[in-house]
């Protein structure tokens, strides 16, 4: 009995069903991973500077997950960069959240020259960003469309950090790419007032450096191990930035601190993904069984013709693994296409789902395992 007789056992319908089911589960798992990863990295996408590819960018912040509550002392950052060779510029930004016309929006405040340098924005309508206009606001192109406002309109902006409204005039609509096109830009001083900060405090400091050596030197000054910067270190370091002492208790309360700030380390994220993939893959036990039951007539004929049950099961296991890998590859390919087309909306920002292949290598493991267990549990000899 050769391979040809074993191949004849498997009905195309059974293969199609197995492929379809595995594909659907894998697609769900990749979507789930994409969603979790996108939400997890949402805040990082807000603070990161993507336009300056040729520069070394060091961002100083004091948040576990949300930059909207970050407070950085301008003096402490200036002291840290003082005398450091290769510092081209330090840009101070206030990034916070505001409420306008039934929507929560991201409000960003920084100097116009710095904004120009970081984003190379262009004005679609209205005037250039003016640091000396304290009643002016500039809207990202997408946000202006969503709010249905244009240049000259007045908007009432509410801050969660102050109790009085900010009545601002839309002075321009700008195009600066993501994430700025979904944000409201105001002068730095007004932004500090909106966030409830003093003139010597900001949300983040973006230090532009000319070389990797300067970057590493600055990292050393902040006592950051650039090769391994965990969220915990970021949290603890941030406490130093705002000038408070870090006590041993801070380290001991690390877990509760992360959870109280709704922060999740990458390891926890992976644990959640693995758990979900195991739970969702449990049902594939049925697929393993169906691979036998749907081919039972052919299996029994082959058995009558002398093909041993063990050999049939090993062959079906091989088919299951191949189906699993093929479905995974297809699901991953389709997910990537879907991710480029579909996006979710968070705080008026369009968030594209994303997936890192190194994060999803484990997905086929529980799925294939449960399929194989299901296959192994069917008693062919009883039939």
């Amino acid at each position: 009995m050769g391979l040809a007789s074993l191949i004849k056992i498997v009905r195309p319908r059974a293969i199609a069903l197995t492929l379809a089911t595995l594909f659907t589960i894998y697609l769900l798992l990749t979507l789930f991973t994409g969603l979790v990863t996108a939400v997890y990295s949402f805040y990082d996408s807000i603070v990161s500077v993507s336009a300056l590819q040729d520069k070394f960018v060091f961002i100083v912040s004091s948040y576990a997950l949300s930059p909207f509550t970050s407070v950085v002392s301008v003096n402490s950052v200036e002291n840290a960069v003082k005398g450091l060779h290769g510092v081209e510029k330090t840009v101070y930004e206030v990034i916070t959240i505001g409420y306008i016309d039934g929507r929560a929006v991201v409000v960003r405040a920084l100097n116009s020259s710095a904004f120009k340098e970081l984003t190379g924005y262009s004005v679609i309508d209205g005037s250039e960003i003016d640091d000396n206009c304290f009643y002016c606001a500039w809207l990202g192109y997408n946000l202006a469309k969503k709010l249905g406002v244009s240049v000259g309109n007045r908007i009432t902006l509410y801050s969660p950090f102050t109790s009085t409204p900010f009545i601002l005039r839309v002075s321009g609509v700008i195009s600066a790419g993501k994430p700025y096109d979904n944000e409201l830009i105001i002068p730095l001083g007004v932004g500090q007032a909106f966030r409830g900060l003093s003139r010597s405090q900001v949300s983040i400091a973006v230090v532009l450096l000319s070389s990797r050596q300067s970057y590493l030197e600055l990292a050393k000054r902040f006592e950051v191990d650039v090769e391994k910067v965990s969220l915990a270190e970021r949290v603890i370091l941030s406490l130093r930035y705002v000038g408070r002492r870090v006590e041993l208790r801070t380290y001991n309360d690390f877990s509760s601190m992360l959870f109280s700030r709704l922060g999740l380390p990458k390891e926890t994220l992976m644990l959640i993904l693995v758990s979900i993939s195991i739970i969702l893959s449990l049902g594939l036990y049925i697929v393993g069984q169906a691979l036998v039951t749907l081919n039972m007539t052919n299996i029994l004929i082959a058995y009558e013709l002398g093909v041993p049950v063990k050999k049939t099961k090993v062959f079906l296991a091989l088919v299951a693994i191949l189906c699993s890998l093929a479905s995974y590859a297809m699901a991953l390919a389709l997910a990537k296409v879907l991710f480029s087309l579909v996006s979710i909306e968070l705080l008026e920002h369009e968030v594209k789902l994303s997936i890192a292949e190194k994060d999803v290598w484990f997905l086929p493991v529980p799925a294939s395992l449960f399929t194989l267990i299901g296959l192994a549990m069917v008693r062919i000899d009883e039939q």
Partner: protein
């Protein structure tokens, strides 16, 4: 005839129970429902947190722009001192002290006493221009410029430091009247929390529905697997005169009841899993502020949809395997 039909139902149930097929339905019905329930409960805990924060925000009052209330004329102007020009907002009010009280603004320097003609500049503006009381500034609005003397410098919360407040009628014709009123709670906090909650809820609902949809092929395979065991019994029923329609109807009835039972089992399983998770977190010293107590409609709606899906899959499978209807 009714006893006979009930006999069919009873036999179908006995075959199911003896066929050791419970695990198949647990995997294909209860597991996805348990997952959806866990997601729903997690969301319920997050909503409780939102509610608490909203309640806390209610303890503070905030000033809002409303249809009626304290009338404020808002003027966008340019203030010029020496060679410096800055765009500022002037709030023209009839009762200066009442407005100062409304927006928690206090005078830090003034020409005494604060008389009828007050021209109070925010602290940040004054600092920027290094201007003090009695300084003369030029205010330009829509091409017309007025000389004004700073009679006071104020400090306040938020935007107050960046505005000029006056009771001078000179600017009234350039102003747009808006009404400010005090409201319980922080409009921004409540609004932002509700907006975020809405975004997250939509996301989670989408996830719950995707989970249910992804399990449809498994549901189809498992119901087929269970129905396959009925071949001999169907032959017996047909030989004693039962029509395909009757057999199929009772199949459908049995599986609808079974799917509802397994859906309920899934919901219970989800609740238990979440509470075990909370217990484990507490064991490791992480206290959860909120315990999800109620199974929201987020779990109930997909569960009901899944039960309906079970009925449809059963009807399709029975028709394919044994004919009928």
């Amino acid at each position: 005839m009714e006893v006979k039909n009930l006999g069919i139902l009873k036999t179908l149930f006995i075959v199911f129970a003896r066929g050791k097929q419970i695990s198949v339905l647990v995997l294909s019905i209860s597991i996805p429902i348990a997952l959806v329930t866990s997601i729903a409960l997690a969301l319920s805990a997050s909503q409780q947190q939102v509610q608490l924060l909203t309640d806390i925000a209610l303890q503070n009052a905030s000033v809002v722009v409303s249809g009626n209330g304290f009338e404020v004329g808002v003027v966008d102007a340019v203030i010029v001192i020496g060679d410096q020009r800055v765009g500022i907002q002037i709030h023209v009010v009839r009762d200066f002290n009442a407005y100062a009280n409304l927006i928690n603004m206090r005078i830090v320097k003034s020409t005494k006493p604060v008389d009828k003609a007050v021209f109070s500049v925010g602290m940040e503006i004054a600092n920027r221009f290094k201007a003090g009381v009695n300084s003369i500034v030029l205010i330009c609005v829509n091409g017309s410029c007025f000389k004004s003397t700073i009679t006071a410098i104020h400090r306040g919360e938020g935007y107050a430091d960046y505005i000029v407040v006056t009771n001078s009628t000179a600017f009234l014709s350039y102003s747009k009247t808006m009404c400010f009123s005090k409201k319980e709670g922080s409009v921004a906090v409540t609004g932002i929390l509700n907006s975020l909650n809405r975004d997250i809820s939509l996301l989670v609902q989408l996830l719950a529905l995707i989970s249910i949809a992804a399990y449809t092929p498994i549901l189809y395979l498992s119901i087929n697997r269970v129905l396959n065991d009925y071949g001999d019994v169907i032959e017996v029923f047909k030989s004693v005169g039962a029509t395909s329609r009757v057999i199929c109807t009772y199949f459908l009835l049995l599986f609808v009841v079974l799917s509802m039972i397994f859906v309920l089992y899934g919901i219970a399983l989800g609740v238990v899993v979440v509470h075990i998770g909370i217990w484990l977190l507490r064991f490791f010293g992480i206290a959860m502020l909120f315990k999800p107590t109620t199974v929201s409609e987020l779990a109930i709606v997909p569960s009901a949809l899944y039960a309906i899906l079970c009925a449809i899959v059963t009807a399709v499978s029975v028709k394919r395997l044994y004919g009928g209807f």
